[in-house]
């Protein structure tokens, strides 16, 4: 049964307002070397069938899991 890990991230050109606040909080805690934080999403999908699911995952990401206008995604299939 394959498991798929999907990582969705905001496009680099887009301001990540949340990430900026977290970065400032880390700086306040004394981690002055943190120059940028960007927050994304992590999804785990358990699939019932084996076989090549890459095409299907790509389709799921393009249709629903990510919005290609503002986000990038990558995934790993774990057998």
């Amino acid at each position: 049964m394959p498991q798929v890990k999907v990582y969705v991230t905001l496009k680099p050109t887009l301001l990540d307002a949340q990430g900026r606040v977290v970065q400032k909080a880390l700086n306040t805690l004394g981690y002055s070397n943190v120059e940028q934080v960007r927050i994304g999403k992590y999804l785990e999908l358990d699939l019932s069938e084996d076989g090549d699911v890459s095409e299907q995952i790509k389709e799921m990401c393009d249709k629903l899991l990510a919005n290609p206008i503002i986000e990038n995604y990558r995934y790993e299939v774990i057998k």
């Binding site: 905001l10 887009l14 301001l15 307002a17 949340q18 606040v21 629903l64 899991l65 919005n67 206008i69 503002i70």
Partner: protein, 231 residues
């Protein structure tokens, strides 16, 4: 002339839109449940504000695939009128009926207050009753209303007059101070290529009676009613 207001699980401005159309404007209006697959017979459909499907994943992302949306998209593709307010605007962007996307406000806060909008194009079905450059005082209520789009998209929107409303100050000048969410170029509302689809973050249905501090939102309903009458 018949209006339809879609109700998704989590819609919360559906009653306001329904009330304004029925009681303020005296028009025929129905609720359309999200499981409905037939929207024939409606001249103008409203996608109301709220938090459809809890706004899980992204705002509007799940609503976009609800059963009613297939019919709503077909309605828009036929050139019939469709307006998305707040969460409705987010659904329209997710449906690709409008370009761009709406993301987290720059200031991270949920902003719920009256803002000023400048009408940028009065030759559209949604603004034909407004005066050139008219300033409207209308409330916003959103956490994710920062409009973003690719530079080519923005250029096209500008060139074709599809930016209908921009955030401004009380005098009508576009400034950072008047922009509640960090939207690019102060964009508050845009139309599709054929102008039959409008998406806007501010709530005209919450500003259609003097008792609610402002009746400036009426101009949008007046305009679309005039458009439908002239059809």
């Amino acid at each position: 002339m018949k209006f339809g207001v879609v109700r998704f699980p989590g819609s919360n401005c559906d009653q306001d839109a329904y009330y304004v159309l029925r009681d303020v404007f005296g028009k025929q209006v129905d609720y359309i449940w999200h499981q409905e697959r037939d929207v024939k017979g409606y001249d103008c459909i409203v996608l109301p504000g709220g938090f459809s499907y809890g706004d899980y994943l992204r705002t509007g992302a799940i609503a976009r695939f609800s059963p009613v949306m297939e019919a709503v998209i077909a309605h828009a593709q036929k050139g019939k009128y469709l307006i998305g307010i707040c969460n409705g605007f987010q659904v329209l962007c997710e449906s690709h009926l409008l370009p761009g996307a709406l993301v987290r406000n720059t200031g991270l806060k949920f902003v719920c207050r009256h803002v000023y909008l400048r009408v940028e194009n009065v030759s559209t079905p949604w603004t034909n009753s407004a005066k050139e450059g008219q300033v409207l005082r209308i409330p916003v209520a959103h956490g994710e209303g920062r409009y973003v789009a690719e530079p080519e998209t923005l250029q096209k929107l500008n060139e074709t007059g599809r930016i209908l409303f921009r955030y401004c100050d009380d005098k009508g000048s576009i400034s950072e101070a008047g922009n509640p969410n960090g939207s690019i170029e102060g964009i508050a509302g845009i139309a599709n290529e054929s102008f039959n689809v409008l998406g806007m973050m501010p709530h005209p249905e919450r500003a259609s009676e003097k008792i609610l501090q402002s009746a400036d939102g009426k101009v949008i309903f007046d305009s679309i009613i005039k458009t439908l009458l002239l059809q």
